[in-house]
């Protein structure tokens, strides 16, 4: 059986996204077929296309997406055909050690993100006999995809799909980096490096958690303006100026938290972040890239600083995705404001150009034939 679907694929790092027709298998046991309505243009897809993050090629891009369940394979219990769903870029089996201890973001079943292989070891996308994986075992830059039921989360029918798409990754990753992984508390001073589709939500999370001072460092004027809309109290184009400001406002005690949500992690931003936090300060690294922490042990011991990596902002997708959408509906969380531009699937490369040029907080693909 099966069907064909149009998708944006990358055949090898460094080559642009290519729109092509793929064969798509029917969902097997525990799998569902989704007809995508919207997909977010996250920086992580750009990392695999640029070759800065490893990925099996060829690959269907996209790990932020929302749509309608089109068909279900045998044994599926979480969703039924016709359900509106958002994808989670980490899968949640609900039974492994991490899922069982409130750390669904570290689910043991979430192992094939870089190949797109389904849990049984096979692929659902094919191009002329070649197996094609989906980014994070999803592939939302396709009109249709077959994914594990562990990767989908039911959402209310009244949530726009483009909004729901952002809750696949950017919103929880940023929000949770501040709220859960950093654990921002009332009265804290928080410095956020990079205020794009992830950082903008770290700003919202920090502010909602009660931070007194939310400082944003971003070289792009438009992003700094938007950061203020999202709750930043102060914004700076460069880290040194932000550091001076933090020293002054905290009487030299420095910040409680630094959250790194830049497009490309480098040594320099980690160095700035480590220097801007004070006693028992925490640096939370959410952004990926080639950067390293370079420190003398004394820099960690003296002020007892912590450097913590964050996956999906420490969120539990099954709990946090619906909760974030509820905060959106109640007006507490700004998501419409995150969507700067909408693109057709064919325009995916233009969307990433706009992102690279600093024009977008988040670009979103609207699948033209979608629900």
């Amino acid at each position: 059986m099966g069907m064909t679907t149009r998708a944006a694929i990358c055949r090898k790092p460094g080559t642009p996204w290519e729109i092509t027709d793929l064969e798509l298998d029917d969902p097997k046991s525990g799998e569902v077929r989704i007809q995508f309505a919207a997909a977010g243009l996250c920086h992580s897809d750009d990392h695999i296309q640029k070759g800065t993050a490893p990925m099996r090629m060829p690959v269907v891009g996209g790990h932020e997406g929302a749509g309608i369940v089109d068909a279900v394979g045998p044994g599926v219990t979480r969703v039924a055909a016709g359900d509106h769903v958002a994808c989670s870029f980490v899968s949640v089996c609900g039974t492994c050690r991490y899922c069982a201890t409130g750390r669904q973001n570290l689910c043991e079943k979430s192992v094939n993100a870089a190949t797109g292989m389904l849990p049984d070891g096979t692929f659902r996308f094919h191009a002329d006999g070649v197996d094609v994986g989906g980014m994070c075992v999803l592939g939302t830059f396709s009109e249709y995809a077959v994914v594990s039921e562990f990767s989908v989360i039911p959402i209310p029918g009244d949530i726009p799909f483009d909004v729901a798409a952002l809750v696949s990754c950017g919103v929880p990753t940023g929000w949770g980096s501040a709220v859960y992984v950093a654990g921002v508390r009332a009265g804290d001073t928080v410095v956020i490096y990079g205020s794009g589709g992830v950082g903008g939500n770290a700003v919202q999370g920090a502010r909602f958690a009660g931070a007194a001072t939310v400082v944003v460092v971003d070289p792009v004027p438009y992003k700094r303006e938007m950061a203020e809309v999202l709750g930043a109290t102060h914004t700076f184009a460069d880290a040194a100026k932000a550091h001076e400001f933090v020293v002054e406002t905290t009487s030299g005690e420095l910040a409680d938290h630094a959250v790194i949500t830049v497009g490309e992690l480098d040594d320099e931003v980690i160095g700035h972040a480590l220097g801007v936090v004070g006693r028992s300060g925490q640096v939370t690294i959410t952004a990926v890239g080639g950067g390293s922490l370079d420190a003398n042990p004394g820099q960690l011991i003296g002020f007892q600083r912590r450097v913590q990596g964050a996956v999906f902002g420490g969120c539990n997708p099954l709990y946090d995705v619906p909760r974030l959408l509820a905060l959106y509906r109640s007006g507490h969380l700004k998501i419409d404001e995150l969507i700067t531009r909408r693109y057709r699937l064919e325009d995916v490369n233009e969307g990433y150009r706009d992102m690279a040029d600093g024009k977008n907080i988040r670009g979103v693909i609207i699948h033209e034939e979608g629900p």
Binding site: G290, L293, D294, N296, L300
Partner: protein, 390 residues
């Protein structure tokens, strides 16, 4: 400020003039030249200061970092930041202790009033900021030699028979606890214990790997075990320390990180350890890498031991932290609150829950201090202790 001065003047007229004004002490004049025994002049205690007659001092690796050139203190400096003794006299306005009290010195003072002290983080008390110079908060020093000022390491200087220290560094020592045991609770015991119990936050059933089982690491082992770790894996190249680690509660001990890694991978079904605690003599990049490599998803690396001031031993690609959401952090005095934890640890010793006698491998006279540090370098000691002669 006139009242304290008046009281000060009154005291100098009294029996205090009979006190010795000089003290024998081990001094470091610079890196790489060892400890030198010198006769120093010692000032009277000023406001909030006490004069302590030390009976015992621990030979901690941190003092060795000074003479090895790994740390950069102000020279010359009186060594020693682990010590126990008796309060001989007190300066004006001292509330916490009185003359005749048996005390332990905490290597980090706890003023009880600053932001860290007010938020349960006495280990970062702001009055501890002069640890590397030994200068008192009024900008002066209490030790002098031929017109030259000397600080005490961590504003203590327990390698001296007598010292003037802040009352905020003094913690009462019960009558039934020997001074040499008390001395270890100044630093090594809380730094190790707390690294496992507080800084790492070991929980029941965890797998914990401790890198280096000396005077600090042995207590990380005790802390991890007491907190309920299922596997407490020690990595130490010295056979004697591996043997001793079993006494303190290690379930497994390995000479090399690679074999420990194999064991941990097998014992955890590939999930790897929950915690790695770095308590070697000197933290190196190799150790930090091995520690990050041995913790699994959600794992945490706690760095307690110092490295060489000139080296960035912590070189960690960010992606390693993000994958599996790992954390690397520093721990100062094991995140302990000295005013709470030192008495608590001494209670655990008295009840037999904490082994402290077993930590003391050898005792030395002050003159033998360089022998003591040679033994430490040779891996012969869990902890050496100086017993001061009076």
């Amino acid at each position: 400020m006139s009242a304290p001065r008046a009281r000060d003047a009154r005291r100098t007229e009294g029996p205090r003039e009979a006190l010795r004004l000089t003290t024998r002490a081990a001094v470091a004049r610079g890196p790489h030249i060892g400890w030198e025994i010198a006769e120093l002049r010692l000032d009277e205690p000023k406001a909030h200061e006490v004069r302590v007659k030390f009976h015992a001092a621990g030979l901690c690796h941190s003092d060795d970092h000074i003479t090895q050139g790994d740390a950069r203190p102000r020279f010359p400096i009186v060594g020693g930041h682990e010590g126990a003794g008796v309060v001989e006299s007190v300066g004006p306005d001292v509330r916490r202790v009185k003359a005749g009290d048996r005390i332990v010195c905490s290597y980090i003072p706890a003023c009880g009033a600053c932001k860290p002290c007010s938020t349960g983080r006495q280990n970062m008390c702001v009055t501890g900021r002069n640890a590397g110079s030994g200068m008192f908060l009024d900008g002066t020093f209490r030790f002098h030699l031929d017109g030259e000022d000397l600080g005490g390491f961590c504003s203590l200087g327990t390698f001296s028979q007598y010292a003037v220290v802040s009352e905020w560094a003094c913690i009462p020592l019960p009558e039934d606890v020997p001074y040499e045991v008390g001395a270890l609770v100044s630093c090594g015991v809380p730094a190790g214990w707390g690294s496992a119990v507080y800084a790492a936050g070991v929980r029941a059933g965890d797998t914990v790997v401790v890198f280096g089982a000396g005077g600090v690491g042995s207590n990380a082992v005790q802390g991890a075990r007491y907190a309920g770790a299922r596997h407490v894996v020690v990595i130490d190249p010295v056979e004697f320390k591996r043997e001793m680690s079993k006494v303190f509660g290690a379930t497994h001990a390995f000479a090399e990180a690679a074999t420990a890694h194999e064991f941990v991978a097998e014992a955890t079904g590939g999930r790897l350890a929950d915690h790695a605690i770095c308590t070697p003599g000197v933290v190196t990049q190799e150790i930090v890498e091995a520690a990050l490599d041995i913790v699994g998803k959600g794992g945490k690396v706690t760095i307690t031991a110092a490295g060489k001031a000139t080296e960035k031993a912590v070189h960690v690609p960010g992606i390693l932290l993000i994958r599996g959401q790992r954390q690397i952090r520093g721990a100062l005095c094991g995140d302990c609150n000295p005013l709470y934890d030192v008495p608590n640890l001494l209670d655990l010793y008295r009840s037999g829950d904490l082994k402290l006698d077993e930590l003391i491998t050898r005792r030395y006279r002050l003159d033998e201090i360089n022998d003591g540090y040679r033994d430490l370098a040779d891996g012969r000691n869990i902890r050496g202790v100086i017993v001061h002669e009076h």
